[in-house]
């Protein structure tokens, strides 16, 4: 039942990076955004593997940009979130909020 799917941890982080970057989201910027905000060094392969999975679920769409000389004449692949992806984000957030509600996460009760 893919429509009831929740996002995995890294899928969630990648999709939030796409939302933050809007129309500037491609491999390099997504990787750098994640590294800057989470301190986690993600490999470009991990980003592409996750984006592939999200694209196969219909949560993300991609398109090739123009080739540029600083990339050795290779094009950028830009990613953007779809309406289906947006509802998956909202569904995941609702589930997380519901699970967190009423919990004391300060750690003082441990």
């Amino acid at each position: 039942m893919p429509d009831r799917d929740y996002l995995g941890e890294f899928e969630h982080i990648v999709i939030l990076a796409l939302l933050r970057l809007a129309d500037r989201a491609y491999g390099v910027t997504v990787r750098q955004e994640i590294e800057a905000r989470t301190g986690r060094e993600a490999s470009i392969g991990a980003i592409y593997a996750t984006l592939d999975r999200l694209e196969s679920k219909g949560y993300v769409k991609s398109q090739l940009g123009e080739p540029t000389p600083e990339r050795g004449g290779r094009s950028k692949r830009f990613f953007r979130i779809t309406a289906k992806g947006m509802s998956a984000v909202n569904r995941t957030h609702r589930a997380l909020r519901s699970m967190i509600q009423g919990l004391d996460l300060s750690g003082s009760r441990a």
């Binding site: 491999g27 470009i44 991990a46 592409y48 593997a49 540029t68 600083e70 990339r71 950028k76």
Partner: protein, 165 residues
């Protein structure tokens, strides 16, 4: 007038390996992303640091690409690897009974060279299908050359002893 930074190239072997494992869909964008970050890092932190980063990223990326490829087409990958080993075993067993080690090394050496050239110039028809050919070309030639050297050393040792005596 804009000044141009010196052209710094990333490690060739790492680039070749990423190209080999990247799917057709990402053959443009993924190596381009790595090159863009490499150039940026080289101008900020130096070439040595950028090269280390490039190797680290390439190795991690290849692991992910291989895992993704395996999930997408597990039987083709298993088939390619088994096919390569079978080809290697068959290719070593039959000719060794027909011709000498030196002749085999002379044939396999250029074959390995052609294998490298073909895979560098054109990944035809698909990178994964090159795997049996690469295993066959490289491992076979290396095994024969090393085996030939060992045999030669063992043969010449008693002769040297006899001459020295």
């Amino acid at each position: 007038m804009m000044s141009h930074a010196p052209v710094v190239r990333p490690p060739r072997v790492a680039t070749w390996l990423v190209d080999l494992f990247a799917s057709d869909e990402h053959a443009e964008s993924l190596p381009g992303d790595l090159l863009e970050e490499f150039s940026d890092l080289a101008s900020k932190s130096g070439v040595a640091s950028a090269r280390r980063w490039y190797w680290r990223q390439s190795v991690k990326t290849i692991v992910h690409l291989f895992a993704t490829g395996f999930r997408a087409a597990p039987w083709s990958i298993v088939g390619a690897v088994i096919g390569g080993y079978l080809l290697l075993g068959f290719g070593l067993w039959i000719p060794e009974r027909l011709v000498s080690t030196l002749t085999l090394a002379l044939v396999r050496g250029p074959l390995a060279g052609v294998g490298v050239l073909v895979s560098l110039v054109r990944q035809w028809p698909h990178p994964l299908f090159m795997l049996p050919f690469l295993i066959f070309s490289f491992a076979g030639s290396m095994a024969i050359v090393i085996g030939g050297l060992i045999v030669r050393m063992r043969r010449s040792a008693p002769l040297r002893r006899a001459l020295g005596a």
